[in-house]
Each structure stands twice: as C-alpha cells, then as structure tokens.
C-alpha cells in the first residue's frame, strides 16, 4: 500500500529555471493496485515516481509505504520496499557485471552486504528457473556480461531483479519506451505476468494510451504537476483513447501534447 499526501517538489527554486514539478499530488494505492500513469511530456510522472523512490527529498507532504513514513528516508534505505525499472535499459543493471552477479545484487536488496560469498550455488538454480520463464534464452547465459544483452533482454532482467525480493511497490517508468514494438509487447507481457503472480502493488508510467487502458485496474492522468484524473473499476474498463483525450481537454482546458503519445487504438 502506498499513500502520497499532498506532495510538492520545486526544482531549482528561486532561479529562472524554477519548476514546480509536483504541485500538491495526493494518491493512495491499495494493496494489489496496478495503476497506469499517463500525461504529456513534463507532466511530472517521472518526478512522482522519483519522489516515491527517494531520489531526492520532497519540499512538503508525506509519503507512506505500508504505513511506514518514508518521507525522509534516503534512497538506499527505501529500496527495501521498492522495485524499479527505468526507461533507459542501461540504467537498471551493472553492464560490466554478468547476469548472475546482477541478480545476486538484487536478491539482497535491502539487506546488509557482508563478507559472505556474493552468490551461492542454490541461487544459481533459482535464477536459471526464473530466467527460463522469461523465454529469452538467458538461462544459459548466467555468466554473460549484461553489457552484451539487447535492450529488451536488459529490461526483462531488470524487471526480474526488481521483483526478486518481492517489493511493496513496483515502479515502472516508461520501461518499454526505448524498445521496438515487438520487444516492448513482450516486456509488457512479462511485467503483467509478474505483477499478477506476486499480486504486486504497482505504478506504470506509459506513453501508450492503449496500454494504459488495457493494463492495470486504475488509470491516473497527470498534467502540470497534478493528478487530474484517477479512474478505476468498471469506469476504467470502459475507457477508450478518444474518451481519454476528450476527458483531458475537458479537465485541463488544453489539447494533450501528443508528440510522443501513442494514440493508436
């Protein structure tokens, strides 16, 4: 469960680059909620996810995960609650280390790092099984450097890493945006599968409106650092791309800046 209470974030305050990126965002995700997040460029989607992850401190408001106030916890201390996949496939893995080493790092998320050997034999067996479930042939390449993998393979691996220790919240920030359509669909399918199997609470930012409608049980729309629409249940199931565009124009009094938005049905 995630509770965001009226958070604000201002970048570069007092300069000409001042940006009120989060302007009073409140949101409550119940256990098992899978929310998709849409909005134009610079709406504050990534900023909201970064605020939850603790990349930097927020200026006001409160963030709770499963009842624990994490507002002032540094990023690495919050990590035990949070699994993340970034837009950039380079971002989620250590390129110079191999697949099993990356998985072993993630397997110990939120735990102290000791002088015990970095990877145990029985872990390898588990990794092989989990990797083979991805159907990417990675189970035979445990000792291959991650830098050699394709973007899609790296995102799938990052997804596995983010959920190896079951997170309280899974944050996916346009994690398929850098992939070709076929690979993106595959990674999205894996995401959906893992979220369903582990019954995870998740937020997924996407620029594909159709994906946002099809996946998850909630849909959140952001604009100018605010949540302007939050639909769930039957209402979400009945959403259409046209309907969403219409709602956006209605609420924001603006056209959705759609240079990157995929409006396809």
């Amino acid at each position: 469960m995630l509770e965001i209470k009226n958070i604000h974030k201002i970048f570069n305050p007092g300069t000409i680059n001042e940006k009120h990126a989060l302007n009073g965002v409140s949101l409550r995700l119940e256990e098992g909620d899978f929310a998709t997040v849409i909005g134009g460029n610079g709406a504050g989607k990534s900023t909201m996810l970064n605020a939850v992850a603790g990349v930097w401190g927020i200026d006001s408001g409160k963030i709770e995960i499963n009842g624990t106030d994490v507002t002032t916890l540094p990023e690495h201390k919050r990590a035990k609650f949070i699994g993340r996949v970034f837009q950039d496939p380079m971002m989620g893995t250590a390129a110079s280390m191999n697949i099993e080493e990356n998985l072993a790092l993630a397997y110990r998320r939120g735990k102290p790092r000791t002088l015990a050997w970095g990877i145990r034999e029985k872990e390898r067996k588990m990794y092989r099984e989990l990797l083979s479930a991805l159907n990417l042939g990675l189970e035979h390449r445990l000792t291959a450097k991650v830098g050699l993998l394709s973007g899609g393979q790296r995102q799938a691996l990052t997804l596995l890493m983010a959920t190896l220790q079951q997170p309280k919240i899974l944050l996916l920030d346009e994690h398929t945006a850098a992939l070709d359509p076929k690979t993106a669909a595959k990674v999205l399918e894996i995401s959906e599968k893992i979220i369903g199997e582990q019954h995870l609470t998740a937020m997924m930012v996407t620029h594909n409106m159709k994906d946002a409608i099809v996946h998850g049980n909630r849909l959140i729309m952001m604009n100018n650092g605010k949540i302007i629409l939050d639909v769930s249940g039957e209402e979400k199931k009945n959403l259409t791309v046209e309907g969403l565009l219409h709602r956006f124009a209605e609420i924001s009094g603006d056209e959705l800046d759609n240079d990157r938005m995929l409006l396809s049905k």
Partner: protein, 333 residues
C-alpha cells in the same frame, strides 16, 4: 646485467602492489585518485620511522598500511559527504599528506642503510640471511659463482618478498571482490544509480574502496622505501603515472577480461615497465628525464584504443573500397 634485470623485476613486483591499488580506484570505481601520491610517501614514512626506532620491519610494514587507510578515508569523506569532485578531493588529501608526512618523518629524508654502524634490518634482511645461510660459503672464482652471487643478492630476496606480497594481496582482493560487499563496490563503479535502487549506500562503498586502494599504496611505499634504503618526502611524486603505466602495459599484454586476468596483468605490467626503465637508464637516459618519459608513455598508452580504432577504420575502409571496386569491375564485364 642479470642483476639489473633482477632488480627491475623485484622493484616491479613491489610496484605491482601499488598498481593493484590504482586498479581498485581507476578501473573498479572509475575514479582517478591522486591521494596515492601522498599515501605512498606516508607508507614509506611510517615504515622508515618505525624501522629506525627498532620495530620489526615486517610489523612496521603492516602498520604502515593504516596510514593509507586513513588517507583513503579522508578523500572518501571529502568526495562523498562534502561532494567535492573525486579528482580535487584526492589532490586536497595528497597536499595535506605532504605536511603530515613531514611531521611523521621529522625531516625530509630517513636513510635505511643496510650496512655500516647505523644499519637497520628491513623486510628483506631476514630473507637474504636465510638464502646466504642456505648457500653457505662458496668459491668466488667457481664457474657457478655468478648464480650464487645472484641468489644471495638483495635483489633476489626483494623479488621473493615481492612475489609473496603480490600473491597474498592478490588473493585477498580476489576473495574480497567476490563477496557481497565486494560485488556491491564493483557495481557502484559500474552503475551507482542501480546500486542505490538495490538498497546499497554508494557513499560507503566508495569510501571502503578508496581506503583499500590507499592501504595497498601505503604498503607499496613501505616496501619500496626499504628497498631503495631511504624514505623521502618526495618519493610519491609522479607515482600515479607509474601506477597507470604499469596497469595499462599489463592490460595491453595480458588483457583485462576478468578480474583474475587483471590480477596477473598488474604485476606483469609493473615488472615490464621497470625493465623498460632499467634499459633506457642503462642506455644512458638522464634520470631527471624519467618522469617525462613515463608521462609520454602513459599518454600514448591511454590513447591506444583511439589509435587502434583509427587504424581499424582505415583498413576496414580500404577493404570496403576494394569490395566495391571489385563489384563495379564485375558489372562492367
């Protein structure tokens, strides 16, 4: 000549410990840490002061490591907590080290003579004595006398000590970087953002790695001070460049695919560098020009990938042109 080469090998192995320290920061953390120029002298200074005041040389050498750990810790704090860029943090500690080292030594040079009334025992003395006893008295005019001379020489003892330290230190590093903590440090050098997302405090990882690196560097300083029979306030000047030269020569010759390979490449690189230096010195190069020579060598080595790329492109271009020309010729036919 044999003794010159042996001396270069011995010195190279002692510098190999330094090169390993540089590897930890330059390759694993991806930081060029200049602290080493200060902590190298610190190691030499501590060892010299302790040895001349009667402390056992092996113990003194081990204690000197602590000086490096402290130096690395300070640079780590400056960099991670006070957010000073790594290069500058290293320069600050290095500069501060100069004053500290002078305080430790009390003067700018402490001789560690192996002979005479003020002679001291270094780490090499017991090894040399052992070899001398083992060989025993021998006829200086015998045909194998040169070999026995060599075996009982200080350089041979220094080589053995260098091999022992290199093996022990390499094994410890191999083990350490295989542990959970060591893996976390390696990942920090590769992708700190991802490491924080895994719940690891990257600042602490950087501090630990800087400490280990400078600990090795101080150990190397202690050994080299004893080898050259004096510790000097300026012995660290230019040391980073020597370390880098060793590291890069090793990588070019042995490769850098795995950590195991690196661990072999570092002492090999350091020894080859020392042999090159010994040879150009023998050929008559002025000792004062040595640092210029080393700097140029390193500059060339660091740009090797670029140079290689350039030539690969040219040859590829030529091949491609040949293929296109052949195709064009065929069409005409």
């Amino acid at each position: 000549m044999a003794d010159i080469i042996l001396g270069a090998v011995a010195l190279g192995l002692l510098w190999g410990v330094f090169a390993l320290g540089v590897h930890l920061t330059y390759r694993i953390l991806d930081i060029a840490d200049l602290t080493v120029e200060g902590t190298f002298t610190t190691g030499g200074a501590i060892a010299a002061v302790l040895v001349t005041s009667g402390v056992n040389a092996w113990l003194a050498t081990l204690i000197s490591i602590a000086g490096g750990l402290v130096g690395g810790f300070i640079t780590g704090i400056l960099h991670t907590k006070l957010k000073i860029p790594a290069l500058l943090a290293g320069i600050l500690t290095m500069t501060a080290c100069y004053s500290i080292n002078l305080r430790v030594m009390g003067k700018s040079n402490i001789p560690l003579p192996s002979m005479g009334s003020k002679s001291v025992d270094t780490v090499f003395t017991p090894v040399m004595n052992l070899l001398k006893n083992a060989v025993g008295e021998y006829d200086k005019s015998a045909s194998n006398a040169w070999l026995l001379d060599l075996i009982t020489s200080k350089n041979f003892a220094a080589m053995l000590v260098g091999i022992v330290f290199m093996i022990v230190v390499s094994m410890i590093m191999y083990w350490f970087f295989g542990t959970e903590l060591g893996s976390a440090i390696r990942a920090t050098g590769s992708n700190p953002k991802m490491v924080r997302a895994q719940g690891i405090n990257t600042s602490i990882m950087i501090i630990i790695c800087l400490m280990l690196s400078n600990g090795l560097v101080a150990l190397s300083g202690a050994l080299i001070g004893q080898y050259q029979t004096y510790s000097d306030i300026s012995m660290g000047i230019g040391s980073i460049v020597i370390g880098l030269a060793s590291l890069i020569i090793g990588e070019v010759i042995i490769g850098k695919k795995t950590f195991k390979r690196n661990l072999i490449a570092l002492p090999v690189g350091a020894v080859i560098y020392r042999i090159i230096i010994a040879l150009v010195m023998k050929a008559g190069m002025n000792a004062n020009d040595l640092k210029l020579f080393t700097a140029i060598t390193v500059a060339i080595c660091l740009s090797l990938p670029l140079i290689k790329d350039f030539f690969v492109k040219i040859t590829k271009g030529k091949k491609r042109a040949a293929v296109l020309k052949a195709q064009a010729d065929n069409k005409e036919v």
